[in-house]
Symmetry: C2
């Protein structure tokens, strides 16, 4: 019998997909950053969830505010990645009976701070006993139908961008303190309409692989273009998880305009390569000019 | 420093309420069975979540299908209790790396069966590593604005009903196999408009206490009217948790019509007492005629 460790997360997601029983109102279910649900009035609801578990994603020694902040920020990042605006969250908390209420208050204070910052209402939840601390947040957002961005729209010739430097997120603690790119994503969908977009949670190599697969295309990225955090090698920037930057593609004409944009918003986006026909595969030009085939090298959860 | 065990769940909920930052579109956040969110078109979205933790709510030896079924059924029960129709669910799963995929498949099969039965689409989720199995489901539903039922509408003179026999749910295993009262609730809101409604998860005494508090009223219930499962004493029926029956109130005129109803729907509802002015407190007439003051005697999570 296979166990989950051997099947891997993506194998598991494939298995779970068979359990989707989609109504016509489900525009997009499992397989993107958030579910897309048809509602009245020209907008889609976005509905996503993330679970953080003690001693897997965080330890009891870490700042509880930061853990709470992250639990919501991951979800915000998912809604941003679809081009949407986050609206409502429900929070489930599993907590050991002997934990201090101070710890729990700090968890909530962290969530609340980021909720305030992005105009999100925490509208409910569940609190249960658990041996380890478990934080699960489900988030609802909305996006105008014409502004929804999925993973499947990348076309050969599109430029590939990321919204910030990558790598070393877990080691540096940035995985707890990152700012979800909600504003950047709204700026992009309102002014430059990316052809595909997602948030970087499993590393550039793995996540770009998801966009390429969903869009039936290949890509050529350049090692020297990958923006790296200080002290991070391009190889780590390529495979480290939990950056929570945006990864998106855009036709060349709009891409050039984006790089020349001189509006009041001071966002910076980094081109890292171009989309190619599928038959050309997924490759990277190394700094020394060698071309290397990239396999799926993202962060693995199991 | 207080710990959670001493504060108790309801103290905790009070604390958490202070973290609600409500937008005008939140009709109801923390403090009812599901959040109520204004959307366009004369309907509210209902948004709720429930977490089940291994060795707290279930053990690994229990049928995984039943556990999966329950995880969704609890949420369905919450949406039913507001008068709504369940629509979309997202599922987070925390699982040990060495667990069999068969176990996980069975969990999902259980969810899927109940989702199918009630027309719910599982539209996304998250799967993470965890020492213990954790299942969290968030559910979105909808209700026509005029059909929304909350906890706060009970008025003196209203009759108090439950939708089925109570007690012994955990001991008998019914807590895993119960049918969420979605159809019964829709029947009630469409034809008889209860004045207040909730689902029984913490026992009749405790949960009726919530309705009374929210509605600023008292109540008199009769021991001999309480429908009990076979082998369950009225005292257990009053305090046992996880019945997941509906508890609702309704003006006497409609209540009498409900009891005389002769339509195609074969639902049965049990009157257990009447709502009284607040000053008369929350009392029960024992079988021997004694009147007893009821305190909050529901199931405690910590």
């Amino acid at each position: 019998m296979k166990n989950v460790a051997r099947l891997g997360e993506f194998g598991l997601i494939e298995t779970l997909k068979t359990y989707q029983n989609l109504l016509p109102r489900v525009v997009k279910g499992i397989g993107d950053d958030a579910a897309v649900l048809k509602v009245r009035g020209g907008r889609y609801l976005l509905f996503t969830t993330d679970m953080l578990v003690e001693d897997v994603h965080f330890t009891r020694r870490m700042n509880a505010r930061a853990v709470g902040r992250k639990a919501l920020a991951c979800n915000l990042s998912d809604v941003a990645a679809m081009g949407g605006e986050p609206l409502f969250a429900v929070v489930s908390l599993g907590i050991p009976g002997q934990i201090s209420t101070r710890y729990v208050s700090h968890l909530y204070a962290g969530m609340w701070a980021v909720a305030q910052e992005f105009g999100v209402s925490i509208v409910g939840g569940d609190t249960v006993r658990s041996q380890k601390v478990v934080v699960n947040i489900a988030l609802l957002g909305e996006v105008e139908k014409r502004r929804l961005i999925r993973r499947q729209g990348a076309r050969p010739g599109d430029w590939i961008f990321v919204s910030g430097p990558l790598g070393g997120s877990l080691k540096s603690g940035r995985h707890l303190t990152f700012t979800p790119r909600v504003r950047e994503a709204r700026f992009l969908v309102e002014k430059f309409k990316p052809s595909a977009m997602m948030d970087l949670s499993d590393g550039l190599a793995g996540d770009l692989g998801h966009i390429l697969k969903a869009s039936c295309v290949g890509a050529l990225i350049e090692e020297k273009l990958i923006p790296c955090h200080r002290g991070v090698t391009p190889d780590r920037a390529l495979t480290d998880g939990e950056d929570f930057e945006l990864l998106f593609t855009m036709p060349g004409v709009r891409a050039r305009k984006l790089l020349e944009y001189k509006g009041p918003e001071k966002f910076r986006f980094y081109p890292v390569g171009v989309v190619r026909p599928r038959r050309e595969g997924f490759c990277m030009v190394r700094s020394d000019g060698r071309v290397e085939q990239l396999k799926d090298r993202g962060f693995r959860h199991f």
